[in-house]
C-alpha cells in the first residue's frame, strides 16, 4: 500500500508554495493516502488551512513542540523517525530546509534517499537529474523499505484547491530532541521584490554586471517589469550579491515563465538552474557567449546601454 507523508515547510506565517508542487509530484504515485505534516511551536490556523485546502491531501497532521519555533534538521528528524514507520514514502521539497534533514532521516532508517525527484514512472521508478541536469537517470528503488525523497519543485506546477478541505488531526508524540544543536538567529534578506523561487518573471545578472554597485541596473529593470532578481554563481562568487540569489546547479533551480540572463555567459552550472524556464532572454555583449545557445531570444549588446533602452520600449 502506498502511503505518503509530505513534510510541509512554513515560516510561521505562511505555508511554503513548494508544498502544493510536491502534491503534484505525489499525484503520480496513485497513493491510497497522502498526509501533510506541519510542525509548530504554536499552531497557525492560516497555515493549517492552506495545507488542508491543497488538492490530493488526505489528512493534515499537526505536531506542537517548542523545538519547532526554529526547526533544526536534527529536531525534525527526531520527530519523523518516531512516526514514519507506517508510511511507504516520505517526501519534501528540495528547498534548503528539505535537503538538510531528509538524508539524516534516511540514514537513521538505514535507507537511501532520492534527491531532486523530477518524474514518477511508478511508486519506485523515477527520474532525477545528475551532472547539473545534463544526464537524467532513471532509477529503481527497493519497494520493501521506506523511500525518502526530495522533490525537484521546478519540474512541477502547484496543484489546485480541493473542493473539500482535508481533516486536521493534532498528533501527540513524545520525542526526545537532541541537545547538540542550537538555533542562534536567522538573518533573512528583507526584500519587497517577488520571491525568486516562485516568481513568474526573473531577471538575473552575471559577472558582466561588474560590481555590487552596478547591480542597481538589474534591480531597476526588474522593478519595472515586476520581476524577482537572481544572479549567476560568478556574480555571487565575486561578491556582487548574496548567495540566496544564486541560480544554478548549486543554487536555486527555478522555472519562471520569463527569464532574463543579463551579462551571464552561460556556464553549465548556471544553465542547470533555468532549464525549465518558459522563455529565456539573453543579453550579452559577447555574441559567442554560450548563453545564446540556450536562449529563445538573444540580444547582443552592452547591458548598460540595452537595459535603459528596454525600459523606454516597455514604457511606450
Amino acid at each position: 500500500m502506498t502511503k505518503i507523508l509530505v513534510v510541509g515547510e512554513h515560516d510561521g506565517k505562511q505555508l511554503n508554495p513548494s508544498v502544493a508542487k510536491v502534491l503534484n509530484c505525489v499525484s503520480g504515485f496513485q497513493a491510497e493516502q497522502t498526509d501533510v505534516l506541519l510542525m509548530f511551536a504554536e499552531p497557525v490556523q492560516q497555515i493549517i488551512q492552506a495545507a488542508a485546502d491543497i488538492e490530493g491531501v488526505s489528512r493534515v497532521l499537526t505536531v506542537k513542540a517548542p523545538e519547532f519555533e526554529n526547526p533544526l534538521g536534527a529536531s525534525v528528524v527526531a520527530l519523523l523517525s518516531a512516526m514514519v514507520d507506517e508510511y511507504s514514502h516520505v517526501l519534501v521539497a528540495n528547498t534548503t530546509y528539505g535537503k538538510d534533514f531528509m538524508p539524516r532521516l534516511a540514514a537513521l532508517k538505514g535507507v537511501t534517499q532520492i534527491s531532486d525527484l523530477m518524474r514518477v514512472e511508478s511508486p519506485y521508478i523515477f527520474d532525477r537529474p545528475t551532472y547539473a541536469g545534463n544526464a537524467i537517470v532513471t532509477i529503481e528503488a527497493p519497494s520493501d523499505q521506506l523511500l525518502c525523497a526530495t522533490v525537484r519543485c521546478a519540474s512541477y506546477s502547484a496543484v489546485g484547491k480541493s473542493a473539500q478541505p482535508a481533516p486536521v488531526e493534532p498528533l501527540e508524540v513524545s520525542v526526545e530532541f537532541p541537545t547538540h544543536t542550537r538555533f542562534i538567529e536567522r538573518q533573512a534578506g528583507s526584500s519587497d521584490r517577488p520571491d525568486l523561487s516562485s516568481s513568474k518573471t526573473v531577471v538575473s545578472g552575471g559577472r558582466g554586471v561588474g560590481s555590487s554597485e552596478n547591480f542597481k541596473v538589474i534591480y531597476n529593470f526588474a522593478d519595472i517589469i515586476g520581476a524577482a532578481v537572481g544572479a549567476s554563481r560568478a556574480a555571487v562568487d565575486a561578491g556582487y550579491v548574496p548567495n540566496e540569489m544564486q541560480v544554478g546547479q548549486t543554487g536555486k533551480i527555478i522555472a519562471p515563465d520569463l527569464y532574463f540572463a543579463v551579462g551571464i555567459s552561460g556556464a553549465i552550472q548556471h544553465l542547470a538552474g533555468i532549464k525549465d524556464a518558459g522563455t529565456i532572454v539573453a543579453i550579452n555583449k559577447d555574441e559567442e557567449a554560450p548563453i545564446f545557445d540556450i536562449a529563445d531570444l538573444g540580444l547582443v549588446g552592452d547591458l548598460f546601454t540595452v537595459l535603459p533602452l528596454l525600459e523606454e520600449e516597455i514604457k511606450k
Binding site: 536534527a74 547539473a132 541536469g133 542550537r182 562568487d237 540566496e244 533602452l309 520600449e313
Partner: protein, 248 residues
C-alpha cells in the same frame, strides 16, 4: 583536534559531459577529472583552522578507484597532513560512503568531519547529513562561516531566505558551501613535497562496511533539448516579441 575532510574525484566543473548513446551512463573516458569543488572548499577551511591553531591535523579521505590518488595528492599538495584512500572500483551511494566516514572516525576520532555540500557529478547532496546521522552527532550544512569556540562551533548556514546561525557541539559534521572561502592554488614545490606525505590504503571489508547500493540505475538519458532560439536586432524587436506572447 583532527579534521577529516572528504575528497571526491569528480569530472572537472568545466567539462561538458556527454551521455552515452546506449543509455548506459556518462562518457568519462579521457575526460579531465578534478577534486569536487565543494570538497576543495572544505579542505581549504580545514587548513585555515589548522593554521589558526584550532586543529592539529588534517586528514584527506577519498572513497573510490585507485585513480583517486591523483586527487588525494592534490589535497596533500594543498596542505593536508596525510591521506587515506578507501579503494572501491564501483560508484557507491552516499549511505555507504557515510558508513565509511563513520568507520574511519571511530579510529581517528576527529573533532570535525568537513565535507562538500554536494558533488557536482551525482548532485545528491546527502553524504554530510548521513554521516552525521550514523555518527549520532550534530550537523551544520551549507556553511559560509565557521567559528570554533572551545568544544563548540558557531556556523553560519546559507539557506533559501538568507542566513541561519547555529551552534553545534563538537564533534560534528559540517558541509561547505560556496562562499566559505576561496581555495588556495597549489604551488610546484608543494606538489613535490606532497609525494613524500603518507597516503594509506584500505578498503570496505577492512573497515567492516558492507557494500550495498540500494538503487538500480535503469538508464541514463540526455535532458530534453530546448528548441533553438534566435537573435533579435534591437530592443524594440525584443519587447515586441515578448508582448506578442503576453509575457510583458
Amino acid at each position: 583536534m583532527k579534521i577529516l575532510v572528504g575528497i571526491k574525484r569528480t569530472v572537472d566543473p568545466n567539462v561538458r559531459i556527454q551521455v552515452k548513446a546506449d543509455g548506459s551512463g556518462v562518457a568519462l573516458e579521457s575526460v579531465k577529472m578534478s577534486v569536487n569543488p565543494f570538497d576543495e572548499i572544505a579542505l581549504e577551511e580545514a587548513l585555515r583552522m589548522r593554521e589558526a591553531g584550532k586543529a592539529e591535523e588534517v586528514i584527506a579521505v577519498s572513497v573510490g578507484s585507485g585513480e583517486c590518488q591523483d586527487q588525494l595528492r592534490t589535497a596533500l599538495a594543498m596542505g593536508a597532513d596525510r591521506a587515506i584512500l578507501v579503494q572501491h572500483d564501483e560508484p557507491l551511494e552516499a549511505l555507504v560512503v557515510a558508513q565509511v566516514f563513520v568507520a574511519i572516525a571511530a579510529k581517528e576520532e576527529p573533532g570535525i568531519i568537513l565535507l562538500g555540500k554536494q558533488a557536482i557529478d551525482d548532485d545528491a547532496g546527502q553524504t554530510a547529513q548521513m554521516t552525521a546521522a550514523l555518527w549520532n552527532r550534530a550537523q551544520a550544512t551549507y556553511a559560509s562561516k565557521i567559528e570554533i569556540e572551545g568544544t563548540k562551533a558557531r556556523v553560519t548556514r546559507e539557506i533559501d531566505v538568507g542566513l541561519d546561525i547555529i551552534e553545534v557541539d563538537l564533534p560534528a559534521v559540517i558541509s561547505a558551501d560556496l562562499r566559505l572561502n576561496e581555495p588556495r592554488y597549489v604551488k610546484l614545490p608543494d606538489i613535490m613535497k606532497a609525494k613524500r606525505k603518507p597516503l594509506a590504503k584500505t578498503d570496505l571489508s577492512e573497515l567492516g562496511v558492507a557494500t550495498e547500493n540500494k538503487l538500480k540505475v535503469l538508464k541514463t538519458s540526455p535532458p530534453p533539448a530546448r528548441k533553438p532560439g534566435r537573435k533579435v536586432a534591437d530592443e524594440a524587436e525584443l519587447i515586441g516579441e515578448l508582448r506578442k506572447t503576453g509575457l510583458i
